[in-house]
Amino acid sequence: MSGIGTHPQTCSGDQLQVSSREWREAEARAGVRLLANGQGHCVLSIPDLRCGGCVAKIERTLNARADVVTARVNLTLKQAVVTFADADTDPTCVISALALLGYPAIPADVAQQDEDDTDDVGRGLLRAIAVAGFGAMNIMLLSVAVWSGAAGETRDTFHLISALIAIPVVAYAGQPFFRSAFQALRMGRLNMDVPIAVAVVLALALSLVETMRGGEQAFFDAAVTLLFFLLSGRYLDHLMRERARSAVSGLARLSPRGAMLRQPDGTLTYMPLSSITPGAIITIGLDERVPVDVRIISGSTDLDRSLVTGEAMPVPAGFGDTLEAGTLNLTGVVEAEVLRSADGSFLAQMMRMQSEAETGRGTYVRIADRAAQLYAPVVHLLSLATFVGWFLATGEWHTAIFIAISVLIITCPCALGLAVPVAHVVASGRLMRMGILMKDGSALERLAEIDRVVFDKTGTLTMGTAAIGCGPGDPALRTAAKALALKTVHPAARAIAMSIAEQPCQLDDAIEVPGFGIAGCVGGRAVRLGRADWVADICLQAKGKASPVCAFADGPAMSFDLIETLRPGAVDAISSFAEAGIPVAMLSGDIAARANSIANQLDIADVRSDETPADKIAALNVLRDAGHRALMVGDGLNDAAALAAAHVSMAPSSASDAGRTAADFIFLRDGLDAVTAAWHMARATARIVRQNFALAITYNCIAIPLAMAGLVTPLIAALAMSGSSLLVIGNALRLNRAAKPRPMPMPRAGGMEVPA
């Protein structure tokens, strides 16, 4: 208790409070990018943006401000792009103006935003689609003319015009396929793009030769239409990933960009993380995340380590304690010495473990490529066999080559190329409407395969906030506790204040002692709420009770019962996995008592507590080595590596930055039913993809014999290709109706909570 009297922040508190505000402003200002003309450019993420009315309201308000040059709101991305007249403008004013309008905003990540501004890949694909579409339309026009009877010179002319259109179109729009096929071949692999590229090039070459010879049949339209369909599939695939990526970048950034550094002359300056070296002294204000690993040299506080270690309850910290990067400072301002630079910090260490863990997953081959590995050799061999057969039968080079190539064209995996992306795009759209973001299509494939589920506890199965199980009965104590609790932002105190319905009593001389609790006077009588050993200073009864305790001086001491809140839908999610015969396990970094009580509540038999990040990875590796495919659901920094190591992973949107980066899926809503919803969607999608493959194979079984018999004309090729593609697309659209989400179960009051 000797520490209480020597709290340094009670004397320099005001100055440090100011520094905390400065840090906040500087942090916001760091989100403003300097433009070439000296103006500032800032992207704000506004999650509550819903309709055009909001857009108009925000734009009107912001554009009316003197410091704003232009403000443009993007409803799709839920972002506002603000240009300031002066790059040094503090965007917090704009943010508070938005908050007044009822739209809380956060600065979006600038580093990610830089890429966002130009989605070059997407634009390139769109351009290729436009070129292919232009070519396909005009060549189709000429081809329809030929098919409906244009003969002689007219036909030759039309073939020539088609050739003149097709050559540049294929050269431009085919690039994504040629490049990918070339890369795959160079690495000695086969992917879907190899048969596509081969078919397109051969179709074009064959048609050119036919055009020169004045032949009757040319496949220009097949080559270009094929590109158009496949590019559409590829663009949809890209769009899906882009959408998820921008949605993720709109989530609040949890790790700070810089810190307030104590200069040799005693002043405080904001410095970016990169220029903070070990040995430097920084201050960490209220509600700030610790930027790098530090040791406290003065002050004391309470820390929320839930994202770092998985500990559910705030822990006190004081002089000499080490804080990991990512910890949230709750109650007191502290000064601390930097132990390691940013890239040596706990956070960076976690990132390294994560990227190491990710390599284990690199062996996953997507279903389309698996199909291609089987499909391409079969088709190419069949084509070769056709050539040999026809050459032996007729002795004509020309006929044999023509028919062999027509086999390649008709089997070109147009439907196969669309089978997977279209289904995935539809599924990702559905998931997004359910509030689940999906990083890419392969995640959906992997999620459909799981046979184990592993949950983190804190922040995943439970909500990050505490609640009160039962409190003291004495009315005087209750009103005093409420009055004390209202004086701080400490989560336990908030929970206490929430649990007491009565009006708080009159409280004088309230003072918060970070790391210990709040003290005050009620009617001249001293009262304290906080750690038991600290409250015991004024009331012996408090000694040995469970924290937090509230007591009047020498009066009765009453202990509050802090509990964790389960995420809504947790029980249903666990039980539906159990019903499906998928074992569920829990890996927690928290102490055994808390982990076990949650596990009991949820009927999870396989519980491991006090797990370090390495333990978690090891546990997942054991599962993998045993041939299991595990879904990991977690949120913390300590889970990031495990998320990457798992076969597939999910994280709530409240997760740490690292966790969100590592996870394949992110769910934006509170309920854990998102996990089962995504799983059901993944299984429905896998079923549709299988059906699509079956359709494509059936189509080939019909088409290949016809082609080998030399019965395929360009008209049949065009009809078969469009027909099979439309069939596959139509089938994928059925996903819009499959797996309707069940209405979200309402969180049950009371019964969902378990003691900590």
Partner: protein
Amino acid sequence: MMSNLTSTERARAMLITVAGVLIGLTMAAVGRNDPMGAHGWIVLLFCGVLFFLVAQTLYDAEPVEDRSTSYYDDPTKVGILLALFWAVVAMGMGVWVASQLAWPDLRFDAAWSSFGRIRPVHTSGVIFGFGGNALIATSYHIMQRTSRARMPDQVSPWFVLLGFNLFCVVAASGYLMGITQSKEYAEPEWYADLWLVIVWVVYFILYIRTLARRNEPHIYVANWYYLSFILVVAILHIVNNLAVPASFSGAKSYSAFAGVQDAMVQWWYGHNAVAFFLTTGFLGMLYYFLPKRAGRPIYSYRLSILSFWGIVFFYIWVGSHHLHYTALPQWVQTLGVTFSVMLLVPSWASAGNALMTLNGAWHKVRDDATLRFMMVAAVFYGLSTFEGSFMAIRPVNALSHYTDWTVGHVHSGAMGWVAMITFGSIYALTPMLWRRETMYSWKAVEWHFWLALSGTVIYIFAMWNSGITQGLMWRTYTESGTLRFSFVDTLIAMHPYYIARAFGGLLFFAGACICFWNVVMTIRRVPNHAPEADYPTIPEAMEPAVPAAE
């Protein structure tokens, strides 16, 4: 209105009208032995009147209006009134033409009033006079609103609007005098065509200049539709009207193409005119006024852009289906059929998009006749595009072509789609433009709606019956292999349908008259009201002013 022009602008306007007067004088002098001379006098009169209108105000005070804070709506207002004027004139002509078919005596034995002369007055009057003016006026409104910018100057909008009306007047008066190129929807002779090219180029430049000044970075999809309308119509007009005047002192000219080639060019033009004059421009109207009036964004904006490109690409080669069973090569006909059928996809995408937009606002459709006009327009758009694709198929065409079915099809498009969406837009626009609280009479709007709908339905049903009867009678053979019915037999069979058609047309015409009256009364009688924003609703339906967010 002139008081809103600066003195420089007034001077510029006077110079243009003087040039017009001189051109008119030259035409009158050179063509004194030809109907072209009469056209010279018409041009002279038209420009002379305008000259005096401007000259009267030449020395008036400079305008005080702050141009940076308001849109330039004067030409839009005049355009709306002109459109309604033409609607009444041309639909009246239509009723007369239809009646002549039922009661031939109504020709009154004059040359100018023969069917062949007043029918083009009806078609051109409706398409160009009513449709064209409505398109120009709404495009002025939409391009400024969606760009959030005022038009770049105040002379060229007037030049385009009045120049276009001069073209319409010359065209209509020429028909009555017997001046025609005999190309459907492109009847006016070479000098009128040349004049239209000038007007159209200025229109295009005006549009581009306005877009270039825009303060809203995004170009709303309606503008794409309007721009394609302006650009493609320009190209079509130029290509189809390539002709050599027999002499520069007379109206007569000869087409640059001959025989079936000319027919191909004519229908390449003709059907693309349907596409880009009667479809894309009005789709632009639909995509702006329907969401505005319903207070809901378009159901799928992405789809509206996709169907734009679809329509632009698919329409181009559809025209040859007008020439089934002619000297046109079979494969060109088949080409037309193929694309006609494929065109159904983007057309229905647009119609479906419009109807899905209303899904969830059906109570507004029920209560608000203006919105109902737009809803019915979308339905008729879907129906008539389906009918069009169907009729383009060669075996169907064998029955339908040259019969009244074609006429019915055109009118289901023109009355059901084009006129309905235009009337809906006019009712939405009028209170906004003149800053009135509501239309003068919401009951009159209801009357107009039901008259227009029943008129259209009576008209098309009459024509379907008539057309199919006619087609079947023409192809009925006796056992000996001769034709079973004479031409007069078919006329007798069609007589009741022709009466029904004239009656349906009369109902529609009455609706248009009510609309004109209602708009004029709105301008004259309804009290002023300054809206804070261009929120469309309130008027008839007594809805909340701000549409509920849905």
